[in-house]
């Protein structure tokens, strides 16, 4: 009997292990395409000592540089942004972060308040697949799923990505068990420039009111931060396109006033930040480039450094060593991207 049980366990272990290998091979590696897919997972290697947490969509991971905040003010910060991150995903990013550390300030970019439904399965995957398994991840999945998705396919990504067998490339084998770091504490660097020449006319909406769903999650986020003694700061990041309507802005202003929260609309502080949209964006206004992100961060740092609990931590030797390594990686990527720009006229790879 014992032998039989051992045989069954061994067999099950072999099947699970081999299917695990198959899964590791077939899941996307986000090395040459959709690189932002690694962002959610990169957090865990950088968790533990961050005073400021940024959550939101691409407007946070493109427009702020934690390295600048460290270099200029000794502020430890991390960005947990993912493409088209919805407000409920931002909420769960905060909850997940609280499992590893308790930041003093959470910065939420309100641009995603306009979405009250899951945007697409692809965006969900980019935000959720990288999260470590916990009840928080499960809840995030449940809140985010489109009609066609199933929780099972998140538990066993093989069931979702099995059809990639026909598009496997060298990187799928090479990066089966490791990944290439993309971000700098969540910041995704781009050094190239594509100036804003003409902004598309915004399409008027029939109704500018944010939905009940969004307010529900914003209240939940506020309550969570209050319960944990965290200051919640609302921002509208400095991307000038897609359009941020005045009607939306007013609702956030009112909400912040009512709940005694700070709200900063970077679009209204262009002179203070020094953002020049002919030089500081890499895609004609959608996202800031390195120069823009550093300007933004430098200005925002003057505000953050005065927040309760946020201190200059450059005296901490351990932290300094850690951030020096991050700075080295930052500078190396910067150099690499400038080299690409010089040689080919464009940035073809982040790394």
């Amino acid at each position: 009997m014992k032998k039989k049980v051992f045989k069954i366990i061994l067999l099950a272990a072999i099947v699970i292990a081999t299917l695990g290998l198959l899964q590791a091979l077939l899941v996307p590696k986000y090395i040459e395409e959709n690189e932002e897919g690694v962002l959610a997972g990169e957090y865990y290697a950088n968790a533990g000592s961050n005073d400021v947490l940024f959550v939101g969509d691409c407007e946070v991971y493109s427009n702020f540089s934690p390295i600048t905040l460290w270099q200029e003010y000794g502020i430890t910060s991390i960005i947990r942004g993912t493409p088209s991150q919805t407000i409920w995903q931002s909420y769960y990013m905060i909850e997940d972060t609280l499992r590893y550390e308790t930041p003093k300030v959470v910065v939420y970019n309100v641009f995603s308040m306009q979405y009250d439904k899951p945007q697409s399965e692809a965006y969900n995957r980019l935000a959720l697949d990288g999260m470590k398994w916990s009840k928080v991840k499960y809840n995030a999945i449940k809140a985010s799923m489109t009609d066609e998705e199933t929780v099972t396919s998140y538990v066993f990504p093989l069931l979702r990505f099995h059809s990639r067998w026909s598009e496997l490339r060298g990187e799928d084998f090479k990066y089966m068990f490791r990944s290439l770091q993309l971000s700098h504490n969540g910041y995704v660097m781009r050094v190239d420039t594509k100036p804003v020449t003409e902004l598309p006319q915004p399409v008027p909406r029939a109704d500018y009111s944010f939905s009940e769903t969004d307010w529900y999650w914003l209240n939940k986020m506020k309550d969570l931060c209050t319960a944990k003694g965290i200051k919640l700061v609302l921002i509208k990041s400095g991307s000038c396109y897609p359009h941020w309507f005045d009607e939306w802005d007013k609702q956030i202003v009112d909400y912040a006033e009512k709940n005694k929260l700070t709200y900063i609309n970077f679009l209204q502080h262009q002179s203070e930040t020094g953002i020049d949209y002919t030089k500081d964006t890499f895609d004609a206004g959608l996202h800031l480039n390195l120069s823009g992100a550093e300007k933004s961060s430098r200005w925002f740092g003057t505000f953050l450094k005065d927040m309760p609990g946020v201190t200059d931590r450059r005296d901490d030797k351990g932290l300094t060593n850690l951030w020096n390594a991050k700075i080295d990686f930052y500078e190396a990527m910067k150099a690499s991207q400038y080299k690409q720009l010089e040689e080919t006229g464009k940035v073809t790879s982040y790394r």
Binding site: L11, I14, V15, T18, L19, L22, L26, E121, E148, E149, T150, T152, S153, L158, L159, R160, H162, S163, W165, S166
Partner: protein, 524 residues
Amino acid sequence: MSFVSFTFLAFLAAVFLLYYLIPKRFQWMLLLAASLVFYAFAGPTYLIYMAVTILSTWGAAYAMDRVWTRQDEYLKDNKELSREDKKAYKAAQKKKARLFLALCLILNLGILAVIKYTGFVLQNINNIFGTQIRILRFALPLGISFYMFQSLGYVIDVYRRKYPAEKNLAKCALFTSFFPQLIQGPISRFDYLSRTLYGQHDFDGRQFAFGFWRVLWGFFKKLVIADRLAPVVVTLTGKAENYPGVFVLGTILFYGLQIYGDFTGGIDITIGVAQMLGIKVTENFDRPFFSKNIAEYWRRWHITMGTWFKDYIFYPLSVSQGMIKLSKWSREKLGPQIGKRLPVYISTILVWLATGIWHGAAWHFIVWGLLNCVVILISQELAPLYRRFHERFAFSNTRAWDVFQVFRTFWLMGMIRVLDVYKDVPTTFKMLGTIFTTPNWGKLFDGSFLKLGISGADYLVVLFGTLVMFFVSLAKGKGDVREMLAEKPAVPRYICIWLLLAAVLVFGAYGIGYDAAQFIYNQF
């Protein structure tokens, strides 16, 4: 709850676990509960239709059984009765039993006729008479044609005194609703299924493993072959006029493979799941694509439906008073040759008409049924000619000739089968005609087939899957493939199973990006 869903797999896991944990005497009750839950997933209101079938068949069988029991007791107690009196008494009892049978048949077939065929009939009345009667369409309860025919077979068997009625209403309900075979059959017989359905089953590792392998094999056929080909068939038949000639040959081939993978795959899952529960379900296929003629094909494809129509329609019709009279009349008036054939032919035509109608309320199903019938009857008539041909030409008794016959039957049956997928009967015949008028052979080589909804890699998967299916079918001719596999040493055996599992998981057409096709036979 589709067989190819995570919900079904979770449901199965729960059923298996409970089934082997609870006291064995409750196992059949668990199956009944599981079956009702399974059916409720399709729509709770459908349970009402099923309840009507269960109650009416149980009631009718129970009443007939009482008639027969009383008859036996009466005859036992009254042995002194004359032969004539006994005969008269029996006739009176039979009349009573027939009344119960008739009521049950009328009620059930009436429901089936109303919900399945009202729209079709009204549509045709409007078309023929130019009327504007509002077309009523009813939602068709899942698997109604399957469970109803299975239950009616049981009632007829009780009427024929083949076996006594099942007195327990809950057991009767389980026979009708047994979840693995609800979606697409097979149409089981009570005497066979009940032997294991109500039994008490210990966990048997070997049977469980065999059942699991069969389920896996079913998923392979359904997900790797059938569902991968589904988009091609939809493209080829959606705008049929854009795909003449060689594309029609493609439709015949691909739809043949699709329906084979889909239907036999589904039945493999059914039989495998039942086996994992220790229950034996009748086989429904016997390597049909190896048939050498259409009649043989129909003895090997959807066997339980064929035997149902044979046992409950063809034979009773052939020996009915009306047919006997017709036979007598035709022998006198039309001669012995025609006289002998006429009743058989009429019965055959009626059976095929019923088979077509059973498949669905549409003209293409009726034409499909009648075409099968015509081919079978012609083959029957030409049988002497074939015999002479075989006697005369030695090559017709070779292996190569057998292969030719198999090939011919596949394509002939395929040409009839595509009536299912083209939008109507005229389109089907028009498209079949283009094989000869505008074959466009060049389209085979200019990449046109790669623009039908699947890629070259997908075709390779289909080819690989079909080859595996072919060789497994060949091996099946020598016995149960699972038995052969079980005799192999552990390592190659488990590698085979793992490869099958991995092939289903990796090459299966399921999940996002694939519109997982419903089982085709669900609709019937």
